[in-house]
Subunit: 229 residues, 2 copies
Amino acid sequence: MRNKIKVVGVDADDTLWVNQPYFDDAEKIYASIMAPYISEENLLRELLNTQSRNIPVYGYGVKSFVLSMLETACVQSDNKINADSVQKIIEIGKDIFSKQVELLDNVDEVLKKLKESYKLILLTKGDLLDQKRKLRQSKLKDYFHRVEVMSNKAEDDYAAVFKRNAIKTNEFMMIGNSMKSDIIPVLNLGAYAMHVPYHATWAHEVAEENIDHPRLTRAKNIKSIMDIL
Amino acid sequence: MRNKIKVVGVDADDTLWVNQPYFDDAEKIYASIMAPYISEENLLRELLNTQSRNIPVYGYGVKSFVLSMLETACVQSDNKINADSVQKIIEIGKDIFSKQVELLDNVDEVLKKLKESYKLILLTKGDLLDQKRKLRQSKLKDYFHRVEVMSNKAEDDYAAVFKRNAIKTNEFMMIGNSMKSDIIPVLNLGAYAMHVPYHATWAHEVAEENIDHPRLTRAKNIKSIMDIL
């Protein structure tokens, strides 16, 4: 494979930097606000239902998350939630936006090394402005030939990216933590993938993890890419 | 100029299709929900203040608008606003997302004609997913060589677009309705611009309209581009 891959696609959230733990913490705070009305378990199940329903309209990201929390809060409190709690839920979102980016282990050195031999493309979804903020803070921007903020990461979306950037699928490898968003779609398109799971995964992103595929590599840390390329 | 311009950038909201009137209507509904607490005039002034404060965090678009409406509703009602009203405000946003795209006059024929001789680039800001939805509904997508959803439309943002697409500023003309976002930044970078004002302009976008500039053309309808290119 070493000689074949020319372009390496890299996911951002929970592949290059911490993301899901902020949402997990946010849900804890949300559950404490909602504790007078509903158990944490039931609340988070309802929130996930609301999010799944709203994502086709709102897309991914923090604002979408906050709007779904607010909607769920109204419904699950039987419209008893007060404005003070609404403000607190809005603040949960602003707190996530204000987090300083924390890079995961080995990310900087791996990208630096990869850039010497491959064209790197950052492929991320979520809020456009928020992803740009995180990229700027991360100081990783110069490693990337191109940054693509995608509204979704399904096969069609990857196919559009490949076309736009004149990427041949058999010369492309994707690195990411989400089987559903980073791995399965690119394998289905004929490209290569390396799955680096993260300890926290959003329920919406959970997919069958145990698939076997001749173009899939599994790794515990992003630095394993050095052993296969 | 005819022989010089090679790339034409086109704004989307209120240049290709109706946008601002939906927000104006939304604000009327919002004001009626908030009528027990504050006058429409004061409410909308406070909303604009909240939006201006939040845009650096939230960016542009419908979700940002809804979150700022909710925040303003809590504060301006002295936390008396109830969950029923919160749900109604969330619905205002969903209603905007569900609007069918309405093209402005002559847009389709002008783009069709321009595409024969120029590379067309759509340059829009707002929600990534929402802009993609509108572009798909508009059936204009095939006229564009590239679509750039920008998190902001300041000089730096245009400069990045020019670099990414290898566009020479003196071969570029931008068409748009907003002096602040579509015209002034590209003129400052050395490119050409055609201003086509729309009858409704968001207060946040209002800028000095009466500037004179040798590379600026003013028109009443997008079809005037045919007279100058």
